[in-house]
């Protein structure tokens, strides 16, 4: 959150703004204005701004995207600043108002949206922010041209200045807005006016992230940090099994506990509200609740996973065809067929900031203020309005920094909880709801478990000519992202999915289905290559020979890792190639403790082609972080569900990677490119699991078919 003082203002002053969005555009200073999705209405409605320039030459740029650690809060304004030729040192970044019609990206359909998921911030806003920046530049040049009475074509811009080339005269942007001669009609801008990416001055340079200074001194504000005068604290016990409803058995006892102010009964949980957070947590622990029986209580994740292989052929489940090309069945030239099954478990987000939100209702309960960390501010506002029964226009939603998103904070269940509590509680005070880590796990929304069956056919020339990939598991659309193999040249392909509902909540988890699906694809590819005695690099090169861009990525990582050299004794190296927005190729070098079954990843090399990269240094850190998160998920992370309940409850029984298991070196190379930028935040995860599994095969001659590769599982594989 930008304003560090917002948590210190007194209650009267923060409530009096209710009902009016606080940003105001004052005529003459607040130009230029641009709205992407209301072009036809521009003359009739108030227009929102992306940029404000003040006479002291400060440029304020509105950032539309959630900042969850991916750096978009800096990257998006850089794009706009580049096209308007702003002096970056004079740029101030503010979060935009929540209005998808103005500040949304194109999304994946026609409806604009503000949700930042799927590493889509830079990719989704790139074109529009460039146009907005170009419009700013055009307006400033137009005013200067009128002021100097010189033709527009004689003017150029650089670093907050318009320059008259023939005379060398200069006007700063601040001086120009001070002239007060804003055009009444904003100029149309077309893509021909955009800069040639070759001429970019700040895109592609190492600009420091603006959020970092306040993240090293404790000043960065997450919603959990909000403290309001008179604030009360809520703790919740949520259904341990989805759909189960509570009956509170000791209401009077709880109300008599010190500090307890109120109890709120929800359909899916019981809430204690208290004077301070510890009193709320203490009372929560003492709740005696009888939960209703629901069918989901029969569900055991491990048993169910073992049924998947037979369910794959069960006609009572609908099969969805995801992709087909050619004909995988009638190929007479096949002389060799391969098939393998791969399994993976549920995985938890484990974002470090437990889910929480702060809701303050006005005394007459007709307006509200909310503080929350959300990946989807527009849907969050809509959900809050609906839950509170208050119009969205009478709610101010303050966007705070997210202490990790990874997909989990694209959902709004925790915010809806906070709104339900504020609405139902009889106390008239701002309320901060904090889920304990135990809530975060028991009400987790996981990356789905699945079984994947891969089948491939090879012809007499040693070419793969058929490829079939079937996935079965929960999670619907989350299950099959990454199932396609767009760069591998295999003429006949068929991809299918069977969805099963287990009444377990699933959710996008950084890189979605790519992590488990690319693991299966790349491990299978390696298994085939080894079987026909071809080096895995050579084997993939043949499949990528018609895709120079993809081939270059593969060759780059091979060179980085010196693939053709001998692997050190006791180590194994594995290779993978895949795409998640960006194209990546990865080599992992591992060792193995034969006694314990523990795999250690020592070195990782990764080549990444993400098109044009806005902030290379930040891109590298994102890729590094993604590799570490992927190693964590591939080696350690597993949610199990017994009798409908999540068995893990906190970091003592849900381990994530720690320092001791971080690779000694991680080398990354970004392929230089001027192609349209694509997402980077998730790109590095999917290749890691396969590269580790393949390194294990190179080291031991045995294959790992189930992720995560926990020591007990590895030991079993070694013993067979």
């Amino acid at each position: 959150m930008i304003s560090n003082d917002v948590n210190k203002i007194d209650r009267r002053s923060f409530l009096k703004f209710s009902g009016s969005i606080t940003f105001v555009i004052s005529a003459g200073l607040a130009y230029p204005l641009y709205s992407f999705f209301r072009k036809e209405e521009q003359e009739n409605i108030p227009i929102n701004a992306w940029v404000q320039i003040s006479p002291d030459d400060k440029v304020t740029i509105y950032n539309p995207a959630a900042e969850m650690g991916q750096g978009s809060r800096t990257a998006l304004p850089i794009i706009l600043a580049e096209e308007m030729d702003a002096d970056w040192a004079k740029v101030i970044i503010k979060d935009s108002p929540i209005d998808a019609a103005v500040y949304g990206h194109d999304g994946w359909g026609s409806r604009p949206m503000m949700a930042i998921v799927g590493s889509y911030a830079v990719e989704g806003y790139y074109k529009n922010l460039r146009l907005a920046g170009t419009q700013v530049r055009q307006i400033l040049k137009t005013i200067a041209s009128n002021h100097w009475k010189v033709p527009l074509t004689e003017l150029s811009t650089e670093a907050n200045k318009v320059i008259h080339q023939p005379t060398g005269k200069r006007l700063s942007y601040g001086d120009i807005v001070a002239l007060g001669q804003m055009p009444s009609v904003l100029p149309e801008v077309s893509p021909e006016l955009l800069k040639n990416p070759k001429d970019f001055k700040i895109i592609g340079t190492d600009i420091a992230r603006r959020d970092i200074p306040e993240k090293v001194n404790g000043k960065a504000v997450y919603s959990i940090d909000i403290i309001l005068p008179g604030m009360a604290y809520a703790a919740i016990e949520r259904s341990p099994v989805l759909g189960s409803k509570p009956v509170l058995l000791n209401e009077q006892e709880i109300m008599n506990l010190p500090g307890v102010l109120d109890i709120v009964i929800l359909d899916h949980g019981i809430v204690v509200i208290a004077d301070d957070i510890e009193a709320a947590f203490y009372a929560r622990q003492r709740l005696s609740i009888q939960w209703s029986d629901v069918p989901a209580i029969e569900y055991n994740s491990e048993e169910s996973l073992h049924e998947y292989a037979s369910l794959l052929n069960d006609p009572s489940y609908d099969i969805t065809e995801v992709f087909t090309v050619g004909d995988v069945k009638n190929q007479n030239s096949i002389i060799k067929t391969f098939t393998s099954d791969y399994l993976n478990d549920y995985v938890y987000h484990a974002q470090m900031e437990p889910l929480n939100a702060v809701v303050a209702l006005s005394e007459d309960r007709t307006s509200a203020e909310i503080w929350v960390g959300t990946q989807a501010p527009d849907t969050a506002l809509r959900d809050a309005a609906k839950t509170l029964g208050i119009e969205a226009s009478k709610i101010i939603l303050h966007r705070c920094y997210l202490g990790g998103g990874f997909g989990r904070r694209a959902r709004r269940d925790y915010l809806i909880d906070a709104c339900l509590i504020a609405r139902q509680s009889k106390i008239n005070r701002p309320i901060k709801l904090i889920w304990r880590r135990e809530n975060d796990l028991s009400s987790g929304m996981f990356r789905p478990k699945s079984l994947q069956r891969l089948t491939a056919g090879m012809d007499t020339n040693g070419n793969l000519i058929t490829w079939e990939h079937k996935i079965i598991g929960p999670g619907r659309g989350l299950l099959h992202t990454g199932i396609n193999i767009p760069f591998y040249n295999i003429p006949n392909q068929k991809m299918e999915v069977k969805y099963i509902d287990h009444s377990v909540q699933t959710c996008s988890w950084r890189a979605e289905g790519h992590s488990q699906n690319k693991f299966a694809i790349e491990a299978f590819m390696d298994e085939i290559a080894t079987n026909v005695n071809i080096d895995p690099l050579t084997f993939r090169r043949r499949l990528l020979k018609d895709n120079p861009r993809a081939l270059h990525v593969l060759n780059t990582v091979a060179k980085m890792a010196n693939w053709d050299s001998n692997t050190p004794t006791g180590k194994g190296r594995g290779l993978s190639f895949c795409e998640r927005s960006a194209i990546t190729a990865c080599v992992c070098e591992i060792s193995l403790n034969q006694n314990t079954g523990k795999i250690k990843v020592h070195k990782v090399w990764m080549a990444v082609d993400a098109g044009l990269v806005v902030q290379p240094k930040n891109a590298i850190t994102q890729i590094e972080g993604g590799i570490i998160m992927a190693i964590s998920a591939a080696m350690l992370e597993r949610i199990s569900i017994k009798n409908g309940k999540v068995e893990q409850s906190n970091f003592h029984d849900y381990s994530i990677l720690r320092y001791a298991d971080v690779p000694e070196t991680i080398e990354i190379e970004l392929i230089r490119s001027l192609e349209k930028p694509v997402g980077i935040g998730e790109a590095s995860l999917p290749g890691v699991g396969g590269a580790i599994a393949n390194a294990f095969a190179a080291l031991t001659g045995k294959r790992l078919y189930r992720m995560p590769f926990t020591p007990d599982r590895v030991k079993k594989v070694l013993d067979t």
Binding site: D211, V216, N217, G218, M352, R436, V662
Partner: protein, 152 residues
């Protein structure tokens, strides 16, 4: 119970039940929200502060143990306007991503350098192992700590 202690160099006191945890006293009573809540059971380390110079997990530390002691939080790591060398290195290496665990990481690292001004990579890893980071900034944190040592 009345508890008097030193907080970031200043004498403070608080009246609270003795089992009140230092984390919540810092965050909600003293409004020093840089120290974070992550797990509540001393497993994640994001609540790390210094108690008499030692890194401890504030989420399990009762206020009764703080009486008469000296506590330093992330807000007290910089000396007036001068950032701690680790904070500078964190900026140079662009360490934080979501940033939530970083106060804990910094406090843990600062305690190490105080006790051992030039730790080896192995010593850094062993000392830092208790503080987890979901964004995966470990690699950069180790670099930033090494950079600080090299500058000395």
């Amino acid at each position: 119970m009345k508890i008097a202690f030193k907080l970031n160099g200043k004498k403070v006191s608080i009246d609270c039940p003795e089992e009140t945890k230092l984390l919540w006293a810092l965050r909600e009573k003293f409004q020093l929200t840089g120290t974070k809540f992550g797990c509540g059971i001393a497993q994640c380390g994001v609540c790390t502060v210094h108690l008499n110079g030692n890194p401890i997990r504030a989420c399990v530390m009762p206020m009764s143990a703080v009486d008469g002691a000296s506590v330093v939080t992330i807000e007290g790591l910089a000396k007036k306007d001068k950032l701690h060398p680790l904070q500078e290195a964190w900026i140079n290496e662009q360490v934080p991503q979501c940033g939530y665990c970083q106060p804990g990481q910094l406090m843990q690292a600062a305690a190490l350098l105080k006790a051992n001004p030039s730790p080896t990579r192995e010593e850094i890893i062993e000392h830092m192992n208790g503080v987890i980071c979901r964004c995966g900034t470990y690699h950069r944190i180790v670099k930033a700590i090494q950079q600080t040592i090299d500058k000395k």
